[in-house]
Structures are given as C-alpha cells and as structure tokens.
C-alpha cells in the first residue's frame, strides 16, 4: 500500500506540486504573521537586551517598560549604588511619546540619558554621535531613511525641537522605536525634576543578578528590582499578550485556508482515484488501509507545502525587510516546529473530508467497464 500510495502521489508531479504550492500559500501566511509579531516583540525588548544591565530597578508596582510609567526619586540612585554587589547604577528617564519626524507622528520609547559615558544609550550608531547633548536627539537610522532625514535635521518631541546628531541601528520597529535625548531635556518635557524612571544596575563580578535584585528591593524603599532576564520576559510577555489575539485569529484564518486547500486537494485526488480505490478494495484491500493511503497522501502534500513555505519565507524575509524597513521579521525555529505539528493536524482534518467518499467507494464498480 505504501508503495502504491507514493507511486500514485508522484505519478503526476505537476499536480502534486500545484497542490503543495496551494498549501504553502496558506502556510506562508501563518509563518509571516507569526514572524511579524515575533520580530516586533523582539524589537520591543531590544533596548532591554542591549542594555546588558544585570538588574533593572523601577518604581514599586511596575514590572514593565513597555506601556509603563515609573518614577523614582533621584536620591535613591546613590542608595542603590551603595547596595552590596552593585558596581554601577545608571539612571534614565523614560517616556512613551509620539514624536514628529518628517511631518509624521511616530510612537517611540524616549530615553533620557545623562552621565556622558554613553551608558544606557544606543548600542550601535551608524552615523553621528552616541551621546546626545542638550537640544539633541539620536533617532533610528531606519526612521531617518524612511523620512529622508539626515544629521542636522530637526524633529519635534512634544513641543520641543531637537536636532538629530546620531543615527542608531536596531532601534526601529513599527510599534516602538527607541529615541535617545539628554536627560535634562526629557526632564523638562516631563516636568519630572528630581526624578528618574529606571536605574540600570551593573553587578560586581560574580554577583548573581537575582540575589542582587532581592537585596535592592530589601534595602531601598518603594522600588521594584528585577534581574534582566525576568524584566525582558515580562516585557516580551506583555507585548505578545497584546498581540496574541490577533496572532491567533490570523493564524486560525491561515490554518483554515490550509485545511480547505488541502481538503480540496485530497478530495479531488480521491475522486480522481475512485476507480482505482474500487479496484484495490475488490482485490482485498480493507477500508482502513484505503483511508490510510488517503491520509498519507494528505500528510505528504502538507509536509511538502510546509517545506516550500518555509524555504520561501526564509528566502523572502531578508528581501522584505530590505524593501519594507517598517517590518521587522523574525522566523523562529520553535514557531516552525509548532507549524509543523499544526500542519500534521491540518492533514488529518483535511483527510477526513474525503473519508466518507472512501468508505462509499463500492468495490463492485470495478466490474463496470
């Protein structure tokens, strides 16, 4: 049966390829939907990841940066710095803001950095300087490319005009770009005098981040401290939570489409093979073996479709990112594995469509000329 199933499947390679491409079309939608959200949620936590701080300290009750507001009195920075195991404590001011660049509003994380050593600033600057001074701003290079701006151009944050002095890489996303300004400018805009938003804590060599975070929470009043890994997970989780319903709906639509396409393919293949199935039954093949043959064909078509979709997605992702800089795509191996498992479910469900047809094939029709 296996031999016959595969021979029959590959007997018409063009038909098989067309079927697999139909399935691939549906699956590629699912891959890209997930890739966009993975890319975007990755960009949302990019600043946290690149900060490489061992512990993040924030206002008590706050556990995110994304969509959050945090205020800590600035005198607590010195207190945090004195906690055992802390090598350096770097304060930042932070706000979610809409900035006007090139006549268009862009939602952005705005980081107000001081200190002058560039700590907590952009991690890769492709043009200009890393540390903005008063009245200056470092914006994502992608944003500058999209809006046609360059160094020396002016953008507006609230009502404050800022001069672009640096272009950073890896800081742009559709939902949240990261823009860097001088802490004093942001303090003016936020009217947050004597306040910081977060404190990035670098631990001394060999000090565990989790233990250090616990010590900060114990020794400094009204603050929350989280090791970097937990803070990233919390922000990533929030970002995904915000998009998960959309992902699920879009994935559901994509999978529904895949089921319909695969089901139609298997149904038409079964219909085309109706006479052969009748002959096989007449020769002594049992219903379950015939159904197994149909299921196996569905699995092959879906797996081939998955392979085509994966190959196309991996090949097209860099091209899409280059052509459409707004989109951040991340195709995760885990997502592909999950899709592989879903694809097998698609095959099983779609092979149920012609199941009744298989059972109804009358072996006696083999006698009809």
């Amino acid at each position: 049966m296996l031999h016959w199933t595969f021979k029959a499947l590959f007997a018409r390679p063009v038909y098989l390829l067309a079927s697999a491409c139909g399935v691939a079309f549906a699956l590629i939608l699912v891959i890209f939907i997930e890739a966009v959200f993975a890319g975007e949620s990755g960009r949302i936590v990019a600043y946290l990841e690149q900060s490489k701080a061992d512990v993040w300290v924030m206002q008590r009750g706050v556990s995110n940066m994304h969509m959050a507001t945090s205020f800590i009195s600035d005198w607590k920075v010195a207190k945090i710095a004195k906690v055992e195991g802390v090598r350096k404590a770097t304060p930042i001011l932070y706000m979610n803001a809409s900035i006007e660049i090139g006549g268009r509003q862009w939602f952005s994380f705005v980081v107000g950095m001081g200190g002058g050593d560039g700590r907590a600033g952009p991690w890769r600057v492709v043009k200009g300087k890393r540390q903005p001074g008063r009245g200056e701003v470092v914006i994502p290079a992608t944003l500058a490319r999209i809006t046609g701006l360059d160094l020396g151009a002016t953008i507006t944050l609230n009502t404050k005009k800022l001069k672009v002095v640096g272009l950073s890489e890896g800081t742009f996303s559709m939902a949240n770009s990261v823009t860097f300004v001088h802490a004093a400018d942001l303090s003016d805009i936020m009217s947050a005098f004597g306040m910081v938003s977060y404190v990035l804590v670098d631990a001394e060599e060999g000090v565990d981040g989790r233990a250090l975070a616990a010590r900060v929470r114990d020794q400094v009043a009204s603050v929350n401290a989280m090791p970097l890994k937990d803070f990233i997970a919390s922000d990533h989780g929030l970002a995904m939570q915000m998009g998960v319903e959309i992902i699920n709906i879009m994935s559901f639509i994509g999978m529904g489409l895949a089921i319909v396409i695969t089901g139609f393919t298997v149904y038409s293949q079964t219909n085309r093979r109706r006479r052969e199935l009748a002959v096989a039954k007449a020769l002594g093949v049992r219903n379950r073996a015939v159904y197994g043959s149909v299921l196996l064909q569905a699995v092959c078509v879906v797996l081939l479709g998955l392979a085509i979709a994966t190959a196309l997605a991996l090949a097209a992702a860099p091209l899409i990112e280059a052509l459409v800089p707004l989109v951040a795509l991340t195709i995760e191996f885990e997502a592909l594995l999950k899709l592989g498992a879903l694809a097998l479910c698609i095959a099983a469900v779609s092979s149920l469509i012609p199941a009744r047809q298989v059972l109804r094939v009358d072996p006696a029709t083999a006698f009809h000329s």
Partner: protein
Amino acid sequence: MTVSTQPIIEATHLTKTFGRGHVAVRAVDDVSFSIAQGELVLIMGPSGSGKTTLLSMLGGLLRPTEGGIAVDGVEITQLDEAGLARLRAHKIGFIFQSFNLLEALSVEDNILFPAHLAPGGRAAGRGRADQLITKLGLDHRRRALPDTLSGGEQQRVAIARALINRPLLILADEPTGNLDSEKGQEVLMILHDIARDEGCSVLIVTHDPRVEDIADRVLWLEDGGLRDRKSDRHDWVRDPVCGMRVDQWTATLFAEHGGRRFAFCSQRCLERFEAAPEPFLDLAAASDAGAAAPET
C-alpha cells in the same frame, strides 16, 4: 483437463433484489450451482440478465438478498467487511473487462500488488511474480507502465495479478471484451491453461462464443435465473471488422450504419468500425452472403 468433484464455490438459492415494493427488481433469482476444483465454467446470457450481479456476489463484492455462497467450505454471506476483504485477497482472483491496472505502478508492481495482502507479503510473492511474468510473456515489459501496454498485454498483467496469491477461484468478467479476436483467443487459452495447470477453478462471464470451446460447462442466465439454453436461440452474424462469428442474441456491442445494424465481438472492433465504417462494409456484405444460413 483435471476436474475434481470437490466444490470450490457453491451458490444456494442465490437471490439479489434491487429496490423495494413495486419498483423492486430481482436481478438474480434463486440461482444454485457449484463449481469444482479445476473446472472452467462459463456464464452466458443476454445483456441485463444479471451476470455481473451474480459475479459480484460470488466474489464477495455484493451481499445477496437471499441464499448462500460457500467458498472452500466457508459461508461468505456471514463474513463481515474485513472477512470478505481477506477472502478476496487470499482465495479469489479477479479479472476485469477493462483490465483495471493501477496506473502509477509498473507491470511487476501491479502483479505484486495483492501479494502484500497475503501472508509473507511482497517478498514472498516475488518468486511467484517472476514465474508468472515469464509464463505470460511479460519479461520485456516488466518495468513498463500500464498506459504503454497493448490491450492484450494489459489483460495478461491482470491475469498474473489475479494469480499471484494462488487463489482457489478466478472470477473473470468479459475478459476478452476489450480485445481483438487474436488477443482474445490468447487470453482464453491462458485461462484454460490456468484451470488445467494450476487446478484453479475459473468462472467466466462473457458474450464471446469462442469461450464455449474451452469451457467444461456453460450456464445460461436469463432474467436473473439459470435456464436451459435453447440451441435455436443462436443468431450468428459476422463481426464486420475482424470477421469473427458473433451471436446477435448475446452480443452487447452494436452500431447502426446506412440503415443496417452490425454486431461486434469487442469494443476494439466497434471503435475501429465507428472511426471509419466504409472499409468494413464490403466484408460485411460478403459475410452476409456467406453466413446467410444460421449456424447453430
């Protein structure tokens, strides 16, 4: 030919009714007979007489409304679907009018197809397949796909497939129906040899009068029941294409041309005639003159 008296298949008061109430049709009506081991039996009869329905029931493809069928002593009307499938795979070989080879499989793979349903699987059937391929003259076509074979070759492959699991019984439905006279004769002789050499019972449903020459027994089915065939019911004419004698009484293939009706021995002859009838009209006229007197 060696014919044992032990019945391989025995049908008892077999009846098949399609539909219900006043629209019910008794396609097969109280048919009883048995076939012994190694016997070659022919079932003949006019179109619509229930031959194929009877064959389907004997092969376990259709359940009778009444009556019983015992194959090798096992009452098959009591078997479930799985049991019937097993019976067909192990004890019955089928030969169809339209060959019904699996188009994606080579000659060898088609022959081996039922082998995986038998104990031992394909590996056990390979030696038998080689033997049949050689015996049926298919050595040079072993790797060929069905659509590259002639009608005669396809039917030989179908015969080999039917024999691969050494069945007790071969059921053949119009095995020469799609073959010209020469290939048809060849297939008949193969079936004859199978019954003689393999001790396999062969039941053939056919309109082809040539088969009568090789049959041990002819059963005449008419209106669903077995009847005594009256010799005066022969109505011999000549197939205008191949010149073979055809009994108009049992023939199923006809064509009208120039106000005349022609009977054909096979689908192939009919198709050739329909494609270009003119070349065959002279032969038909000559045959008419030669075959004016009825042959019986």
